[in-house]
């Protein structure tokens, strides 16, 4: 904060006390505010302003309130790198795979404390956290304990010797299932966030203790087969990154229903879950862990029941209880914390009458990677596909009796994108194309005809709310914005059909000299820039509906030459050149321009 000696400020103020009789008129002040004064007049006005607080006040007040007219809406920015790192760090901690063994040696027949999976709601909880506890392959027999919604109980009991008949729940990525047979426990933590902290707290020391031991084997779970203790959750995420998501699950202890999802570029085997948690913590790459994969599958538990028993026998013999101290246990709580790379899509599906549409199939496809996730709307017509990697998506919503709703180019940011859809009732002609059962389609009602499926993709039928429009990426924007040209007569024209036909776009921003002939046009998406004679530069942020006049200047040095070349590499970076080979560039979407040092 610069400071002036008070005495200097005083002297400055003194100059102002002298009454100033004549003030510049509104026209001059306006022109000053708009930087439209020639240097000589500008100097005069400035001299007055320097000494006249009233006029300074007027000038300040007369500033256009919405500088926004000349600013470019910057695209929604993904979270800062720091935020990402923070998430990463959190993920690294959380993904510490903690397993704790419950050995109930003395009550072998006892039913383990293994909790049923909590019912989980299709939740929009942004951090979907899944935990799985896994007994690692250690020389000690350790049984993974599935901590569930009854976390309190589980935690309380974690150190009691437990009969291992626990129905372990596997935490493993789908494609590794076969390789990592020893699944222990997982639970869908998404459901009861409140329980996590408790469970985690209890588990954390174990995980920490386990970490040093586990660290050296960063990516591979020790082979479980010949290991008596051998419950290994292989939490390694392979490159296909399939994760499970609890979504609309059945309620009993069976398991969450799975939505296979694509984890964002987690390739490269970033370790997650299972034993790997420890190593994840040990590796910087832990930050890359996108999701923990926990699949709570009681079936599996049952399947591995035998194995579990066998293990327990082994444990019993080995007096594992005595030896299974915290250091040798490796617990795993696979915790998939959504990191900065993920977002979600959710919305409400309604029919034209506004009634919600349950059970509509929602398929989202990442147009960049081709990965696809499916979901259905619930009874309230809501769908929620969370924890999807950021990127461009196509969303298709279909429901028998309705036209398909397809919206492409939905950009999923690391936040949840809302996309409400209104399904149009299928048209009769479309009904013809479907199968015989189509006769049952009631094309006026949105609720019938469960048997019919439509496939027409009528993009134009979509209703796009303004919110959706805002989410349209530039690709779609470009399509809608058309292509542009300046005619020889200096008119701005636009074509939506690749140049077959052109329409003239009126350019009438306030304050532009209509005599200034337009010469060049550049457009990126909705951002349209038009340059003309006399330094006229017009900018539209809405594909030409409204243009504003952009004053290109730096200090007193304003651009007055005829703009003969104009190029925007993206919405932010542009360059213009005048007939005199003056070059100005902008890096902030035209908010400020600077003359190229090399030119002129």
């Amino acid at each position: 904060m610069p400071e002036l000696p008070k005495i200097v400020i005083r002297k400055l103020a003194e100059r102002e006390l002298r009454p100033d009789v004549s003030h510049p008129d509104a026209d001059l002040l306006t022109a000053f505010v708009e930087c439209a004064l020639p240097d000589r007049d500008r100097g005069t006005v400035l001299r007055h302003l320097a000494d006249c607080p009233s006029c300074r006040e007027i000038v300040a007040l007369a500033q256009p309130a919405e500088v926004a007219a000349d600013t470019v809406i910057s695209p929604p920015r993904s979270r800062s790198r720091l935020a990402f790192l923070r998430w990463g760090a959190l993920a690294a901690c959380a993904v510490l795979v903690v397993s704790f063994a419950m050995l109930r040696q003395r009550q072998p027949g006892d039913v383990p404390l293994l909790a049923k999976n909590q019912t989980s709601v299709p939740s929009s909880e942004p951090r979907s956290i899944e935990q799985g506890s896994v007994a690692p392959a250690s020389d000690k027999a350790v049984l993974g304990y599935a901590d569930t919604g009854d976390a309190g109980r589980g935690v309380a009991n974690q150190l009691t010797p437990a009969a291992p008949a626990a129905a372990p729940i596997a935490a493993l990525p789908r494609e590794r299932k076969s390789e990592a047979p020893a699944m222990i426990a997982g639970y869908d933590a998404e459901t009861v966030p409140g329980t996590h902290s408790k469970a985690e707290r209890a588990l954390m020391p174990l995980a920490r203790a386990a970490a040093p031991r586990r660290a050296p084997s960063p990516t591979r779970a020790p082979s479980p087969t010949n290991d008596s203790a051998g419950f290994v959750a292989n939490g390694e995420i392979s490159s296909s990154n399939v994760t499970t998501q609890s979504f609309g699950l059945p309620l009993n202890g069976r398991s969450v229903s799975h939505l296979s999802r694509i984890a964002p570029g987690v390739g490269a085997g970033a370790p997650v879950g299972g034993v790997m948690g420890a190593s994840a913590a040990a590796q910087p790459s832990a930050a890359d862990v996108k999701t923990g994969l926990v699949k709570a599958a009681k079936e599996k538990a049952a399947a591995s029941d035998e194995a579990v028993r066998a293990q327990q026998q082994g444990l019993a013999h080995g007096d594992a209880l005595k030896t299974a101290d915290a250091g040798t246990r490796t617990g795993s709580v696979a915790k998939a914390v959504r990191t900065g790379h993920e977002g979600g899509i959710r919305g409400l599906v309604t029919d034209p009458s506004g009634a919600v549409v349950p059970d509509a199939n929602v398929t989202i496809t990442n147009t960049a990677t081709g990965l696809s996730l499916a979901s259905t709307t619930n009874v309230a017509g809501l769908y929620d596909v969370s924890s999807v990697p950021a990127g461009p998506y196509t969303i298709a919503i279909s429901k028998a009796g309705f036209q398909d709703f397809v919206r492409s180019g939905v950009n999923v940011e690391p936040s949840t994108v809302a996309l409400n859809a209104t399904l149009q009732v299928g048209a009769v002609s479309e009904a013809v194309t479907v199968e015989a059962q189509a006769s049952s389609v009631d094309t006026t009602s949105a609720t019938t005809s469960p048997t019919t499926a439509y496939a027409p993709n009528d993009k134009d039928a979509f209703r796009a709310s303004s919110e959706e429009m805002a989410n349209l990426p530039s690709l779609v924007a470009a399509r809608q914005a058309g292509i542009w040209q300046i005619t020889a007569a200096g008119n701005l024209e636009r074509s939506f059909d690749g140049g077959k036909s052109w329409e003239t776009v009126p350019v009438l921003p306030a304050g532009v000299n209509p005599a200034a002939r337009l010469r060049v046009v550049a457009a990126t998406g909705f951002q349209v820039w038009v340059g003309g004679n006399g330094g006229v530069l017009l900018h539209s942020q809405d594909a030409g509906s409204r243009f504003t006049n952009v004053k290109v200047h730096k200090r007193n040095f304003a651009l007055t030459g005829d703009i003969v070349a104009l190029a925007f590499s993206d919405a932010q970076h542009g360059r213009l050149e005048t007939a005199e080979h003056e070059v100005w560039t902008t890096t902030d979407g035209g908010k400020t321009w600077r003359p190229d040092a090399g030119a002129k």
Binding site: A36, V59, A510
Partner: protein, 318 residues
């Protein structure tokens, strides 16, 4: 300016206007608002006569005319003359904006409405005798019409504020929690300081003055806006049309430069470096205040003092 010079100047302007007037008239679409080309030329001439100094080169004059927003000028003058269609267009373009602008200036719905309405009345400008004296007739097209409206609103707001200031009662001032002590004491001290200059080294004053005089207008404008008006760097930057960081660097540089220059000026007048620095860092509020000077200052406060109005309005506008 004697008649002859005026005539010559007018002649020069006319000759400068001739070649461009046709294009300007066409461009202004003045005919649409019921202004014949000849009349519009007269308007342009009047504008030129108002702003162009004597002896303007005809090239400059032509450039000046070209820089005018003739389309808006024609519209404004059409409105001023009471042309129906012109008013229609004017209202379509600006009626809503007028209130928005007023709101952004007054920051209070009621005041804004009042401000906008009164400006509207001025613009429409039919006085009690039924004559049309529209304020729009004074628009000359140097800036955009919208900007002009905004400026006029701002002027109106300031004027109004001044008027109100005069009628604010003492009670209200107390209610508003105005600190009588703080601000006036400083001003008084400032005034006192200038009059009882003996409290400070007599060499200081001329040094500062000469350094301040050497500043460019823009620099002084920046300093005054920042240090006296308390505007933010962003505000100052916007009025000058430069980036905030530019102003930030500039204020920084100016402040440092000023100090350095004043010190060297003091040195030139025979002070040692240390003396000069001490002298410069004297807090004006620590100075012995001349009571008489202070009393004079307070009695003067009855009339409008631009500085005071400024301080107050800055507060409200914040």
């Amino acid at each position: 300016m004697n008649t002859n010079a005026t005539l010559q100047s007018a002649l020069g302007i006319t000759s400068a206007l001739q070649p461009v007037s046709g294009g300007l008239c066409a461009q202004s679409r003045c005919a649409e608002w019921g202004i014949p080309h000849a009349d519009f030329e007269q308007i342009l001439l009047a504008v030129g006569a108002k702003y162009l100094p004597e002896g303007t080169q005809s090239g400059d004059a032509a450039a000046f005319f070209k820089s005018l927003k003739v389309e808006e000028l024609a519209l404004a003058r059409g409105c001023a003359a009471g042309h129906e269609r012109a008013w229609e267009v004017f209202l379509t373009r600006y009626r809503e904006k007028l209130f928005e602008m007023a709101l952004s200036i007054a920051r209070d719905g009621a005041t804004a409405r009042e401000l906008a309405d009164s400006l509207y009345a001025d613009l429409y400008g039919v006085n009690s005798r039924g004559e049309r004296v529209s304020k729009l007739a004074s628009y000359t097209g140097r800036g955009s019409l919208e900007g002009w409206l905004r400026t006029v609103l701002a002027q109106e707001f300031i004027n109004r504020y001044r008027k109100q200031r005069r009628t604010t009662s003492l009670d209200e001032e107390i209610e508003q929690g105005r600190q009588f002590a703080a601000q006036p004491v400083e001003t008084a001290a400032l005034a006192a300081g200038s009059e009882s200059g003996s409290a400070i080294d007599p060499r200081l004053d001329p040094s500062i003055t000469s350094v301040l005089d050497s500043l460019t207008n823009e620099d002084r404008y920046v300093l005054a806006s920042y240090f006296l008006d308390g505007r933010t760097l962003a505000d100052v930057a916007r009025t000058l049309g430069v980036h905030e960081s530019t102003i930030s660097r500039r204020v920084d540089k100016l402040a440092r430069g000023l100090r350095k220059q004043i010190l060297s000026e003091l040195g030139r007048r025979g002070m040692t470096r240390r003396q000069a620095e001490e002298c410069l860092d004297t807090d004006v509020r620590d100075l012995k205040v001349d009571l008489r000077a202070r009393l004079t200052q307070e009695s003067r406060a009855g009339t409008f003092s631009p500085r005071e109005a400024l301080t107050d309005s800055t507060e409200t506008s914040k």
